[in-house]
């Protein structure tokens, strides 16, 4: 009986969270166009969210490219088709790893800092003070940050893919000695501009919406205590990572099914 009650309470809690997230999203989206009029704020957020994540994204992309090239080479050389390394790496990166790994790293690097920042603003009653002064905190604080995420993540995902392909070229062509011409020409024959690169951009935008919404929501609804902020930060990473992976599966099934 107790277990049943617990289950019921848990379910209701989750439903409540989803409902609150939806209301939050509607409020946020309503303020999005208006917040663009103060583009300086958006610019500041892109700098804070995007530029500071650039290093970790670029370095991870480079190493993912290295590893993909090494592992791919060891498998492909068994079948005598090591020239297919280029197309394998490019498809892996543009279709899946670019958007997904960039979004996961982004949730850890930028999502957490957004949650902590807004949670602490709330703990310090800055948000309440803004409301007192008649400044809409959604428009002034949340919307520019959401724009920052929405613009930064697709850029970062593209950079991740490009740097990864370059890393694969370094290991595959420069170090192992796969033929460079075949590496690029097979890649160019195998990668499609719309179905691969276009879908990669769509994925990155969807992930940006998910990560942005979750990290802002968690920060905005964090309990205004040190413990509450730390919990909210943890939840941001866990929930947005799971959302990214789940959404990725759904989108892959829709985009690349025959």
């Amino acid at each position: 009986m107790k277990a049943l009650m617990d289950l019921g309470a848990w379910t209701l809690d989750q439903v409540r969270h989803v409902g609150r997230l939806a209301i939050f999203a509607v409020q946020l989206f309503k303020e999005l166009p208006a917040s663009l009029s103060r583009f300086g704020l958006v610019c500041q957020q892109i700098h804070f969210i995007g530029n500071y994540s650039l290093l970790i994204i670029a370095v991870s992309g480079l190493f993912v490219g290295f590893v993909l090239a090494l592992q791919g080479y060891f498998i492909l050389v068994n079948y005598g088709s090591e020239q297919a390394l280029g197309v394998m790496v490019a498809l892996c990166l543009t279709r899946e790893l670019g958007p997904v790994v960039a979004a996961l790293l982004f949730a850890g690097r930028a999502g957490t800092s957004l949650t902590a920042e807004i949670g602490l603003m709330r703990a310090g009653e800055q948000v309440a003070a803004m409301e007192m002064m008649g400044v809409d905190p959604v428009r002034r604080v949340l919307a520019p940050r959401f724009w920052g995420v929405l613009i930064s993540l697709p850029c970062l995902a593209s950079i991740f893919s490009a740097v990864g392909i370059f890393g694969a070229w370094i290991v595959g062509v420069a170090m192992i000695g796969v033929d460079g011409g075949a590496f690029w020409s097979q890649m160019q024959a195998g990668v499609d501009i719309f179905s691969d690169i276009g879908n990669s951009l769509i994925k990155a935008v969807v992930f940006a919406i998910a990560v942005g919404l979750i990290s802002l929501y968690q920060g905005y609804n964090a309990r205004p205590t040190p413990e509450g902020v730390s919990r909210a930060t943890t939840r941001t990473v866990v929930i947005s990572s799971l959302m990214v992976l789940g959404l990725d599966f759904i989108m892959t099934a829709m985009m690349f099914s025959v």
Partner: protein, 161 residues
């Protein structure tokens, strides 16, 4: 005030740099990985049809080659319910002309590679135009049929001995 605006300007510069890098990365993947340069958007082409007994694993967007050079793409593969054959529509770049009695074959690149259509030029004076049909076709080699043919002839030879 002076210092603040300078700081703001450097932020704007960094953001601009970041966004440009994002676009450059996208452009790099588009040009270098997907070969946007050779993307034939809106290039003129004409469509011809051919009926095949068996198309094997031919898919739309497969290349149409003549003497090994890509001259077009397979537009669609459908089933003709009157002839009970596969109808393949291919679009050939307008720069190439082929005699009306050319032959279309379904070939495989390499042992395990993808299938494509090979056009062997005929000797007719007339050329293929939009909507014309290629009459002489050769179906895809299906491995099971080849094996079973081989087995039959093998058994026949054995029984003759």
């Amino acid at each position: 005030m002076e210092r603040r605006s300078e700081r703001k300007r450097s932020v704007e510069l960094m953001v601009g740099l970041f966004v440009v890098m994002g676009f450059a990365a996208l452009l790099f993947t588009a040009l270098q990985a997907a070969n946007l340069g050779s993307f034939t958007f809106g290039q003129k082409s004409y469509q011809v049809e051919a009926l095949f007994d068996n198309i094997g694993g031919l898919k739309s967007r497969a290349p149409v080659k003549s003497a090994g050079v890509v001259v077009g793409r397979v537009e669609s593969v459908t089933f003709d319910n009157e002839m009970f054959q596969a109808k393949v529509v291919m679009s050939i770049d307008a720069g190439f002309e082929f005699p009306a009695d050319s032959e279309a074959q379904i070939l495989t690149s390499g042992l395990l590679g993808e299938q494509y259509i090979g056009l062997v030029a005929g000797a007719d004076e007339e050329v293929l135009g939009a909507g014309s049909k290629i009459r002489r076709t050769q179906s895809a080699m299906v491995l099971e049929q080849m094996v079973s043919k081989f087995m039959y002839s093998f058994v026949e030879n054995k029984s003759k001995e």
